[in-house]
Amino acid sequence: MTAAAIPSRRERAAARPVPWTRLTWVAWRQHRAALAGAAALLGAIGAYLAYTGWEIHRAYDAYTACVPASMRVQPLGGLVMGGPRACLPAARAFFSYYGSGQGSVLKSGLNAQTIPFLLLAVPVLLGAFVGGPVLARELESGTFRFAWTQGAGRVRQAAARLVPLAVVLTAAACGLSALFSWYIGSFVQAGVTGKYPMQLFGDMGTDFAAWTLFSFALTAFAGVLLRRTVPAMAASIVVLTALDVVTIMALRQHYAAPVVVTGDGPTGNTNLVLGNWFTTTSGVPVSQDTVLNAFARLPFGVTPSTAMLADHHWLQWWSYQPASRWWQFQLTEGGWLLAASLLLIAGTVLLIRRRPA
């Protein structure tokens, strides 16, 4: 009943923090099921992309071997194919992987035209399902009262979970994204599509991985804020989808001041065209209707040429982002998403530190 039990402070060995490797093991033990689920999902998608991509590459090789480069007409809507008659089956076979060959998205189901759209959902879902439970499950089940009172403090524990999971998830997303780039590469090379459309931009380069990381960080943060796994996932998915849409519709094209030119404008489909309009040679705007009425006899859908416009002292203007800026755009978006993710992860750790548990 007396004081014998407590050694004075000098007698005790100084307390040491628990090594990170041990904490990482705990994180692994707690999340291996979620990681296995993520690996299964990514593995299934990866296997599909690898197999179909291999078929597409074979078909593309057969097509390019048959049709000389000069005769490969860029298919408009996947319809027009040039080259010798004998090459028609090879051309059809290749282009059929990109929709039914008739350009119908609905009829053809899964193909190189629809897959990129479906993949856009993967970063959001993957990040939410792995990020949701990271800390929220601890809070909602009450086990934080066990975990936060062990020798390893809660800040180190939270960091030892968030950082490795973020790294693993981002690396896995990079892998899948690289596989997708290879899968779609033949169609980009063949000039079927540029890389600026949202479904390609979001699945290639650094964008896919950046959105995955951001989704993970946002859901983990929401989990600590709401202290519930499922509501955090739901809230995060809603916010992310909204942010994704805003980015695609209103933000992305402004990462750099567009190039404005007059004349025939950018050719091909690799550029991101933002708009075109008409003025007089002295710079007074001319409405589109006025121009089109002047050329009423032109077949539908054909724009008047620069020479025809010159007769009326009109100019056509184009504003666009050139294909050469694609990587700059990727890194700009990747950059702000990375910065936002790091802030969210830091904020999550801070919340864990601050909040009365």
Partner: protein, 248 residues
Amino acid sequence: MDVIEAVGLGKRYGRKWGLRDCTLSVPAGCVTGLVGPNGSGKTTLLSLAVGMIRPTAGTVRVAGETAGSLAARDLTAFVAQDAPLYQNLPVRDMLRVARNLNVRWDRERAVSRLDGLGIPLKQRVGALSGGQKAQLALTIALARRPELLVLDEPLAALDPLARADFMTSVREAVAADQISAVFSTHVVAELEQVADYLIVLGRGTVLLSGTTAELTAAHGGQSPEQVILSALRENAEHAQGQAQGVAR
């Protein structure tokens, strides 16, 4: 020497104080019972002592270290109410998790203790009985070789037999390891059999404290149970009087 020293300790949740101006000492080497009705601030006090929450006012030290510091965490083992553990893990992995969250860890002790209790390492934590789960939580806490064992309402979820077993385990461990233990409870009956020292908390302040013998002697030979009940009743009446005074 005191194992917990609180000075002017207070914790406010929003506008409401969970614990206010609490100054108390918990002696080392004892099993101390922290007694009080629901809402009297027991859990708040223990949460502050184990560093789960930070004080709004005042200080609390554990075994001479600031509560919540690395040194204090290392010396304090806490078993929260309902003994929260990872239900989905087998007992073996639960031990591994605890081992990897602590620098001090005595695996031999944990395994032999579980063996003695007949708790199989292969069993999932979620499949253990309430009594076994409490014993597992206690085993993990003791394997950390703490100087202070803190138990929040350890008896609330247990049936009478498991209660007796559990408190016997605690008393044995305190004696064998020469450590201190604090447990909170709102059950007043049979306290003198499990606690050497009692602290009675009412509405966030200390009403009484002392060894069971001291309390009995100071109150004309009344049992500790009677002493506690009359102190709590007096405190409740006082509060009621105050409330009426405000109403008028």
